[in-house]
Structure formats: structure tokens, C-alpha cells
């Protein structure tokens, strides 16, 4: 038996190109459906785990998927904006804790996430170095942002203009980095967190400027009528918040009318969540409430349906490949008829010759399957990082 296996090995080694092609084909055709299954499964877990950890999302009526992707992964276009009054409305129901989000602005390739400190507790995020933001203009970086940009507490990052052609738009805001979060392996690692009010500063809604009563601001005063001062465009507005000018930053009116992109609502219990959802059922309701898990499952349902088609196609290809491999082996037998005759003439029994040929086929099949298994293990092991890089990158 050992001799037979040795001869089989020598044959395969001698025809190494043919063997390599056969093993490669079998490896790929075995791995592709299994690997795809693993990748899709991991992607589904990656997407749903964050969605399932987020009980309810409230935003302006529009695409639920856009609201979910923007609020959970800080990706996709900014959904239709709502106002801070939506968070106040949820708070006043006493049914849930609202965590407002304003995900609209970016610094380079990273989303600037305006929120409240409750977000960090809700997501279980810890500040690994430095501290949490305390005043306007301070920011806390996700671990990947800090690593990619090579910045940490004491450095600054600058918000990007929404459009390079928006010459009359808001000035970029230079933000002080005061902390870096520990890695969470979620979208939070790729975000820059600021207080909600800082995003309004970026937008220019909350701003600081020269004291209009001060003599040095005289050139910026267009007209002065009693207690009313009208300023011209030359009034100096600050694009960096420092201890010296922070006191000049102010709101115009209450916060209720200021924009946000959505609100995470964390119900106090399941019943509260159900009641809260009922509050958004009215026909004239201008806001929507969604369960992110449901939205993501709908999305995944589509992805999984596509996966079924792909796997079916791959199985057809596998059958075709196996048939081709069988044909290769059969043709190979025909080409090796003289070799088989020679083995028979020098005393090889039919059993020995059959065992030799079967050993060769089994070795090729086994090598293909083992390699496919190895690739599957590697995919399972490192696929999540790959998926995070692809999904969150």
C-alpha cells in the first residue's frame, strides 16, 4: 500500500502543472460557496449587532434605511433633518432617554458626530487617553481616526467645508482634541465626536463674534438704532474656540429649533418602547420612528436573497467543474493506457493498479478540499477585520 501511495505521489509530482490546476480548481469551487457563506454571515452579524443594540431611532419622515445607516454607521447621505425639539419631545414622554445625533459634517474622510455624553455610556465607549469633551470646540477621536491621523490630546483637527464651491459657506472650525476612545471595533472607531452644540458652531448657527458694543467692533456696525445694532459682513466671527473667546459664543433663540439628523431613543422598558412607537403612528405625524434591527434585517434579507442566487450559480459551476475534473481523469486514464499495460506486464495486479489510480484522484480531491478548508478558516478568522475595513473603512 505504501508503495502504491508513493507511486501515486510521484505521478502527481511529475505532472505538477496538471495537478496544480486540478487542485486549484477544486479548491476554489469548494471554497467559494462556503467562503461566501462565511463572509455574508459575518457581515450580517456585523451589521445587525449594532442595529440590535440600538432600540429605536427617531428622525424626520423619509428613508428609514438612510436614517439607520447615518445614525448607526455614520455613512450614507444625511437624512432629512429634524430639530432638537424631537429629542425634547421624547424626553417629555418620560418613556425613553433621547440621545440626539447630528451626523452631517466631516473632517477629511471622517464623520463628525455631534451628540451628548449619554452616547458614550450607551455604546459603552471609554476614553483611553485624555478626557471627554467639556466645552464647545473640543472633540474626542475614535481610535482609528487617532491612529490614522497620528493625533491625540493636545492636537487639533479641522472640519471640512461641505462643498469646495461654497465660498460663502461657513468657515472650517478648528477643534481641540481632548481625548481618544479605546477601540470598540465598530463605526465609533472611525468617528470624531463633538458636543451637539459644536456641530451647530460648525454650521454657523451658534457663533462667537466681537462684542458689538466694543469700540474695536465699530467698523463692523452698519447702523445703530437705540438698543438695535445692525452689523455688516466684516464683523469678525471666530473659527476657533479658545478660552479667550468661548464666552462670546451664543445661541440665537432656544435650542429646540436647531437641526439634528436623528435621535436614538432608549426606552426605559419594552412597554415604554411600544407606547413610544405608538405615539408616532398618527397620519399627520412629521417624524418617523424605526427599529434599526428591523430596517437592517430588511436590508440583509435582500442581501441574503442575492446570496442564495450566487450560491446556486456557484453550485452549478461546481458541478461543471467536477464533471470537467472527472473528464480530465478519464482522459488521463486513456492517455495512460500504455503505462497501465506496462504496470500490468511487470506484475502489477488489477487491484494495485486501481488503488494507484484512485489514490491519485483522492489525493487531488483531498488537497483541494483541505486547501478550501484552510481558506475558510482564514476567512472566518480574519474576515471580520476585512469586513470592518470594507464596511467601515
Amino acid at each position: 500500500m505504501k508503495d502504491t501511495l508513493y507511486l501515486a505521489w510521484r505521478y502527481l509530482a511529475h505532472h505538477r502543472i496538471k495537478t496544480a490546476i486540478l487542485v486549484g480548481s477544486l479548491t476554489l469551487i469548494t471554497f467559494l460557496p462556503v467562503g461566501l457563506n462565511v463572509i455574508v454571515g459575518q457581515s450580517a452579524r456585523e451589521l445587525t449587532s449594532r442595529a440590535e443594540a440600538t432600540p429605536l431611532l427617531v428622525g424626520a419622515k423619509g428613508s428609514p434605511l438612510e436614517l439607520a445607516l447615518n445614525s448607526l454607521y455614520f455613512e450614507s447621505d444625511t437624512p432629512t433633518l429634524t430639530t432638537y425639539s424631537e429629542a425634547v419631545r421624547i424626553e417629555e414622554t418620560s418613556l425613553a432617554t433621547p440621545i440626539p445625533l447630528y451626523v452631517r459634517f466631516r473632517s477629511r474622510d471622517y464623520s463628525i458626530v455631534g451628540t451628548t455624553l449619554e452616547y458614550f455610556d450607551f455604546r459603552g465607549l471609554e476614553v483611553a487617553s485624555g478626557r471627554s469633551m467639556a466645552v464647545l470646540g473640543e472633540c474626542v477621536l475614535g481610535s482609528r481616526v487617532a491612529a490614522d491621523l497620528g493625533v491625540g490630546p493636545g492636537d487639533t483637527v479641522v472640519s471640512s467645508p461641505e462643498s469646495v464651491f461654497d465660498l460663502a459657506g461657513v468657515y472650517p472650525l478648528k477643534m481641540q482634541v481632548v481625548g481618544v476612545l479605546g477601540p470598540s471595533y465598530t463605526a465609533d472607531d472611525g468617528a470624531i465626536f463633538v458636543d451637539l452644540k459644536t456641530t451647530w458652531v460648525i454650521q454657523g448657527l451658534v457663533h462667537g463674534h466681537q462684542d458689538m458694543d466694543a469700540p474695536e467692533a465699530a467698523s463692523g456696525v452698519l447702523k445703530r438704532e437705540g438698543d438695535t445694532i445692525t452689523a455688516n459682513a466684516s464683523v469678525v466671527q471666530y473659527n476657533e474656540i479658545t478660552p479667550d473667546n468661548v464666552d462670546s459664543f451664543h445661541f440665537h433663540g432656544g435650542m429646540d429649533g436647531y437641526p439634528i439628523s436623528g435621535v436614538i431613543a432608549v426606552p426605559h422598558d419594552q412597554k415604554s418602547g411600544t407606547i413610544l412607537m405608538g405615539r408616532y403612528e398618527a397620519d399627520d405625524e412629521i417624524s418617523q420612528i424605526v427599529q434599526p434591527a428591523t430596517v437592517m434585517n430588511d436590508l440583509l434579507g435582500t442581501i441574503l436573497t442575492i446570496r442564495e442566487f450566487v450560491i446556486a450559480a456557484l453550485l452549478l459551476v461546481a458541478i461543471a467543474t467536477l464533471a470537467t475534473a472527472a473528464l480530465v481523469f478519464l482522459l488521463s486514464l486513456r492517455l495512460r493506457r500504455r503505462e497501465i499495460d506496462t504496470m500490468s506486464k511487470i506484475g502489477g495486479s488489477r487491484l494495485s493498479i486501481g488503488t494507484l489510480l484512485v489514490s491519485e484522484i483522492v489525493a487531488v480531491l483531498l488537497a483541494g478540499v483541505l486547501l478550501a478548508g484552510l481558506l475558510t478558516v482564514l476567512t472566518a478568522q480574519f474576515g471580520e477585520e476585512l469586513i470592518r475595513a470594507l464596511l467601515l473603512g
Binding site: A53, R131, M133, S184, A231
Partner: protein
């Protein structure tokens, strides 16, 4: 045949996916609350002025650890904590706010909204608007001003009671098991404030509608609650007013002939004697926005009452005579 081929792969996949099943740390527990910790440490309470700290200590007793981090020599209404102090505020279980625009720094700070307790919001309809504030216009948002409210709300004992009640309710919500104790302590504080209110009411009644001056525009709630006929100037106890300010006072006295001027602190002797020359008696009514050097909020308010009574009684006696 095909299913047999997949068996080893499936086994490897299951092992691998089993290994990879453990998600990122903390992900599973998100959105839930830790119900395991039953050790009742005192609630960490941060306040933005001294009256709130006093109320919280009176109501919370041993169940609370109250911090009021403003330095002793500043008016907390014009104080802004630095980022490190704000970080301390962030760690508190509850942050008690006076409201009515008292905490001007609040809109520039990052504090957890769920921990903020605006103690005067329930009586917001009683807020007295400030009559100062420049309206200005720039940019697309149009005309706006930086007006606000008078914020020394606690000088009206009834508003102070409402603020104390808000504290009691917040403490009870944060620690329901001590709610009964908080209730009892609140009722004690409420009784003290009601006694103060009754005695102040008597002083106010004795004073009638005779004109009175306030050295600083912080007494509006007291003025309104007691029905006094008061007007404010903008003088500091430790400063000698300029001649322009004296002239303005003389002009004001012509239309508002006050004989009593209420101060936040003891004015300079030179100021007192010059005021006496104008027929103005000075009396100290300490708003007690910051912690007093001696005593507490209760004793300071009783001293204020005694000062007012001492100032009013001779005049009342004269009127009676």
C-alpha cells in the same frame, strides 16, 4: 458525495465561526443597565450656586455628597468652570441648576442632559425678564438680542421652596429607597422657608410702598414678592462710586425719594456716610449666592431678616408715632 465533501469544511467553518462568535467587548451589554451593584454610595450632587448646595444637603442628608466647586470669592452667576471642573460635573449623579439663565456657561459646556435638574423650571412663569440687552443683526438669522431673566430666584422664599421641591423629587427619583427620608427633610426645610416668608411678609407690610433702593439689580424677586417699591442702581459694596454715579443717584432720588438702600454686602464707610448725607440708610441683605464665611444659608437669611427689621422698625415706629 457532494455532502460528504462539504462535511470537513462545514466542521472547520463551525469551529472557526464559533471562535469568531465572541463580538467586540461590551457590544452585547449595550442598552442595558447594570443592576448588580447594590452598594449604596452617597449620591454625588454638583450644584451651580450655594443655595442649591444648602437645599441639597438639608434634603439629602447622609445620602448625598454635595459639591459646589465655585471659588469662595466669586459670584457664581458670573463664574465659568474650567474644562477640568466641567469634567468633574460630568461624573456627578445629579447636577442641580438654578435655571432662569443663571448658568451662562451651561450652553458652552458638555454636560449629560439626563443628569441636569433645572430646579426652577416648574416656576418659569414667575421669571422676571431683564430689561437690558442689546439687539443686533448680522448674518442670515436676522435680529436677535442677548436678553435674559433675573436669576436670583431663591430670594423669593416661595420660589426657593419650589426649587427645594425639585431637588427632593430629583433625589427621590435617583434613590427611591430614601424617598421618604428626603420628603421629611424637605418638609423641614419648607417649614423654615415658610417662617422666613411670613416674617419677611410682615416686614414688607410694615414698609408699605415707601421707595427703596437696591445697590445692585439682584433683588427683583424679593422686591416683587414683598410688594416693595424698589429701584436698582449698579453699585459694588467694595468700590467707591464715581461722581457720575452719585449724580445719577441724586437724579433718581428726586423721582424716587428712598430712605433705605439695600446692599449685597457692607458698603465702604465713606459711601455709608455720604449716603447718610443724602438721607439714605444702608442695610445689608446678603443674597448668599456663594457660601458665607460663617453660618449657612438659613442663618444668613435670618440675619438679613433681622437687618431689615432693624432698619424698618424705627421708621415704622416713627410712622405710628
Amino acid at each position: 458525495m457532494k455532502s460528504r465533501l462539504y462535511l470537513p469544511i462545514l466542521a472547520m467553518f463551525l469551529i472557526a465561526s464559533g471562535c469568531a462568535e465572541s463580538g467586540p467587548p461590551g457590544e452585547e451589554s449595550q442598552g442595558t443597565q447594570d443592576s448588580g451593584s447594590q452598594v449604596l454610595e452617597p449620591l454625588s450632587i454638583f450644584t451651580t450656586n450655594y443655595p442649591l448646595a444648602y437645599f441639597a444637603e438639608r434634603i439629602g442628608g447622609g445620602e448625598v455628597e454635595v459639591s459646589f466647586p465655585a471659588p469662595g470669592d466669586v459670584d457664581p452667576a458670573y463664574w465659568a468652570p474650567d474644562p477640568e471642573v466641567i469634567a468633574d460635573y460630568q461624573q456627578a449623579d445629579l447636577i442641580l441648576l438654578n435655571g432662569a439663565g443663571y448658568e451662562k456657561w451651561l450652553e458652552r459646556a458638555s454636560l449629560p442632559a439626563s443628569k441636569l435638574v433645572d430646579t426652577s423650571v416648574a416656576v418659569a412663569s414667575s421669571y422676571i425678564p431683564l430689561d437690558q440687552g442689546v439687539v443686533h443683526t448680522h448674518g442670515p438669522e436676522g435680529e436677535h438680542s442677548h436678553k435674559g431673566w433675573v436669576f436670583t430666584t431663591w430670594l423669593d422664599p416661595m420660589i426657593a421652596i419650589a426649587q427645594a421641591q425639585a431637588i427632593q423629587e430629583a433625589l427621590s427619583a435617583a434613590r427611591p429607597e430614601a424617598a421618604a427620608d428626603f420628603r421629611v427633610a424637605f418638609e423641614g426645610l419648607q417649614a423654615d422657608l415658610l417662617v422666613l416668608d411670613a416674617q419677611l411678609g410682615e416686614v414688607g407690610a410694615d414698609f408699605g410702598d415707601r421707595p427703596v433702593l437696591f445697590s445692585h439689580p439682584v433683588y427683583q424677586y424679593l422686591d416683587e414678592h414683598l410688594g416693595l417699591n424698589g429701584k436698582s442702581v449698579h453699585w459694588e459694596p467694595g468700590d467707591m462710586p464715581t461722581e457720575e454715579m452719585w449724580n445719577e443717584l441724586s437724579t433718581l432720588l428726586q423721582s424716587h425719594p428712598a430712605e433705605l438702600m439695600i446692599w449685597e454686602g457692607e458698603p465702604l464707610e465713606a459711601v455709608k456716610s455720604r449716603l447718610a448725607g443724602l438721607g439714605l440708610q444702608t442695610v445689608v441683605y446678603n443674597p448668599c449666592g456663594n457660601a458665607p464665611e460663617s453660618g449657612d444659608f438659613g442663618s444668613v437669611m435670618l440675619q438679613n431678616l433681622a437687618n431689615l427689621e432693624a432698619a424698618v422698625e424705627p421708621e415704622a415706629a416713627d410712622t405710628d408715632g
